[in-house]
Symmetry: C2
Subunit: 226 residues, 2 copies
DNA sequence: GTCTATATGGTGATAGAC
DNA sequence: GTCTATCACCATATAGAC
């Protein structure tokens, strides 16, 4: 889109500055929130004057939209690509593992970018929100289909609601943005633990009140507590 | 603390107004973010004039702090209480299930309150953040101890890092704040699915490449993708 | 307690020189 | 392209009447 000379040449001076501004915007928005971020601070971080920003983004809202767009497809492209290179012989379990790891790497490497679409969601102008929502939905659909296929292949339990499971899985992984620190566990270790828990759970096999079922069964559980 | 006539009488007119302001603040902060929220709007929602707010909170920052404090201990009290009434005979698996359900109910019923401590975290003034952090840590410690006890009792796998598992579990449940809608699955259903996945995983028992282990074993997994 | 001013400062955005 | 001004507005917070 913008800068319709997409095919040829390397970055012009304008493109370089635009990227610099965008990077600064990502940082400031993620630290201060949409309303809390000021054009003056974005400019300062970018090394420009406040007025100059308007050469690249004609409003704060459009700047926000650009910031979000950068992050949107990053993760989904990473994951789709990781799945695509899997051999057809790969089990769904393996595919899911690869997808989990790719998703985790995707969100954590895009850093502040991904933080924005989570923390700032509620404060984002409606029109920006709408566009982001559409791209997000398509990606979530991919995960749903992956789980459904795995279920039909007999690899995962049928007593779990697929949509709910998908939502829980994705949101659980996304939540790593809240607590991941570069000086802690490695992304690989985290992805590994995620996969183990999602795949097999935390309980020791054969333990106590009922293992994973193929068909709906244990139904009168829960309902404790209020 | 504040209003040191805690023990006696019912709410004075001032207390009622204070609560009204606090509730309005919760709503507006959660919708607009810390910086995006205006005292004028809080006042409007509370049915007061902007200036009147300062009778109860001498600054926007202190108002924010009050809002956060309301939500902090709600969830942890709910969970601790739910665990306390469990019979000593209850397995750790049962305790964990009860804790999951209580935590989920806690965050979802406190609604916008809990949203604040997640969405607005990055925008919160440092001093407020610090206090919130301490209370949060104590609660997370409780979960850690629960998992450690379960592990020592031989109920859960020892090949999972306990801290990481705790973090994943809690953040996964908290993430329900992002996607829960009152017109969708019931809280009970969601808690049930959470527990099933966390306990047993999504894979059909006995399936493919290795079930849950008691001891560290399968170690050369993963490392695919980059 | 709650109001109506209002002081004071910061914000997004624009205009026009270079 | 980037700057320096500057406008018009809205924010938090205060003062003092009721």
């Amino acid at each position: 889109m913008a800068r319709n000379r997409v095919v040829k040449r390397k970055q012009s001076k304008a493109d370089i500055s635009r990227d610099k501004v965008l990077a600064a915007a990502v940082q400031v928005f993620s630290e201060k929130g949409y309303a809390g971020a000021t054009m003056r601070e974005v400019a300062r971080v970018a090394g420009l004057s406040a007025g100059s920003l308007y050469y690249y983004f004609s409003s704060k809202e459009l700047m926000m939209e650009a910031v979000i767009n950068v992050s949107i497809n990053n993760v989904s492209k990473t994951v789709l690509n990781a799945i695509a290179v899997q051999p057809p012989s790969a089990s769904y379990s393996e595919k899911i593992k690869v997808a989990i790891k790719a998703h985790l790497q995707g969100i954590l490497s895009s850093g502040a970018n991904a933080v924005i679409s989570r923390y700032l969601w509620v404060q984002i102008p409606d029109e920006v929100k709408r566009k982001h929502f559409i791209a997000q939905s398509a990606y979530e659909e991919f995960w749903l289909n992956l789980l459904i296929a795995a279920q039909e292949a007999g690899e995962i339990r049928t007593d779990l609601d697929v949509r709910l499971t998908r939502t829980i899985m994705l949101s659980a992984i996304n939540a790593a943005l809240d607590w991941y620190r570069p000086d802690g566990k490695s992304v690989d270790e985290i992805a590994e633990t995620f996969f183990k828990i999602i795949k097999e759970g935390i309980v020791i096999s054969g333990e106590s009140d009922g293992p994973a079922l193929t068909a709906p069964e244990a139904k009168k559980e829960a309902t404790a507590l209020k």
